[in-house]
Symmetry: C2
Subunit: 227 residues, 2 copies
């Protein structure tokens, strides 16, 4: 499997044709999954807002939330409209113009599908996958990792129910979240301070092409032991 940074992307602004910029910055081939940082998707879609203070930012975060799980100072852990649990509803000031915050896309799966459609059209490559990634903390473990908040073109969860191990015994693992693992793999070549907001992941073993969406990764409250 190869993970290839898409370098030389210009700073993205509202209205930019992000699909074209991605296609121009790398050689996208059939079978590739293109991972794009949420930040540039949101900017292209104009999902930004003015912020003058920490209170402004907190107000934006609360406006994007359906529920507040934890609060420490001006930082909140929230559940967003999309069902994502993250810091400040994903509202972030880094890699944005002064006085500007970037919000999550309104519908990251729709954003991923639109990018997939446009990249397919421009390149003729098929199958293709698109992941929109963001950097989330998690309980119990230090450090943040990239996860998939938008998915198009493949199934984000690899269903192993009924699969057998080397010894012919049923696996206790039932589902692998390949979309999150792809987002994490891509982060290893992207980097926040190097200005590489996209990467190609090529050659994922056993990927299932299809019409999956990141909405399917959100654990239903009834299944969730930690809600």
């Amino acid at each position: 499997m190869q993970v290839i940074p898409l370098q030389g992307l210009p700073r993205v602004r509202k209205g930019d044709d992000l699909a074209r910029l991605l296609v121009e910055s790398g050689r996208i081939e059939s079978g590739d999954v293109i991972v794009v940082a949420q930040k540039v998707v949101s900017k292209a879609e104009g999902r930004t807002a003015e912020v003058r203070s920490a209170e402004d930012k907190l107000g934006l975060a609360l406006g994007e939330a359906v529920r507040v799980l934890r609060r420490r100072g001006s930082m909140v852990i929230t559940e967003t409209r999309h069902g994502l649990v993250c810091a400040n509803s994903g509202v972030d000031l880094s890699n944005a113009e002064e006085g500007t915050a970037v919000l999550l896309p309104l519908d990251p799966d729709a954003s991923a599908r639109a990018l997939l459609r446009q990249i397919s059209h421009l390149t003729g490559a098929s199958p293709l996958g698109v992941v929109i990634s963001d950097t989330f903390g998690r309980p119990w473990r230090r450090g943040q990792v990239n996860v998939a908040i938008g998915v198009a073109g493949f199934e984000p969860l690899l269903d192993l129910r009924g699969a057998r191990d080397w010894y012919g015994r049923e696996l206790s693992v039932t589902e692998i979240c390949v979309a999150d693992e792809i987002a994490s793999a891509a982060e290893l070549v992207m980097g926040k301070s190097r200005g590489v907001p996209a990467a190609i992941v090529r050659g994922v073993e056993g990927i299932v092409w299809g019409s999956g969406a990141a909405a399917g990764i959100v654990r239903p409250p009834a299944e969730d032991l930690f809600r």
Copy 2:
């Protein structure tokens, strides 16, 4: 970045020289991180136990735990002696002989350091990293992902405090858990039912070689909003 499965490894048994098996199954080069599934490390170390029933398994899981966070039927979410929060303290029956459960290594960081030392000795390659990976669920998101439970040879957390973004602003992300991202990237070529328990991750951007350990990934209770 390349992620290369180490194929053709035989079934590992207690006392096997795992470092030699890994070296023989692939071409390890300077700068590689070798990711090894916890299961084979535990087997080589003889960390297995007899199980006759679900009650036996639950007993083993509780014996490995310092705290039970949640319980559903015979499944428990526990905190292990290592500070890992996972299902059944990592006790698992799949990819093990009939009537046998595999437990986590007593000290996965020590296991990683021993593998690193032996692989360095056998290959002469330097620097090298080793990750011992396991497959964990997480709150709020469906599907499991591979994380690092043992680390040697590099810093598992990439410290971005004070780093600047493209616009010269301080990043809001402070630490990336590259070790977990490396474990996840490797999982995409390993697979539970294909019998590929190890992979090389080659060319991680910005990796910091050093004497880090996975124990450093465990979030101290005082910092943890979800403990």
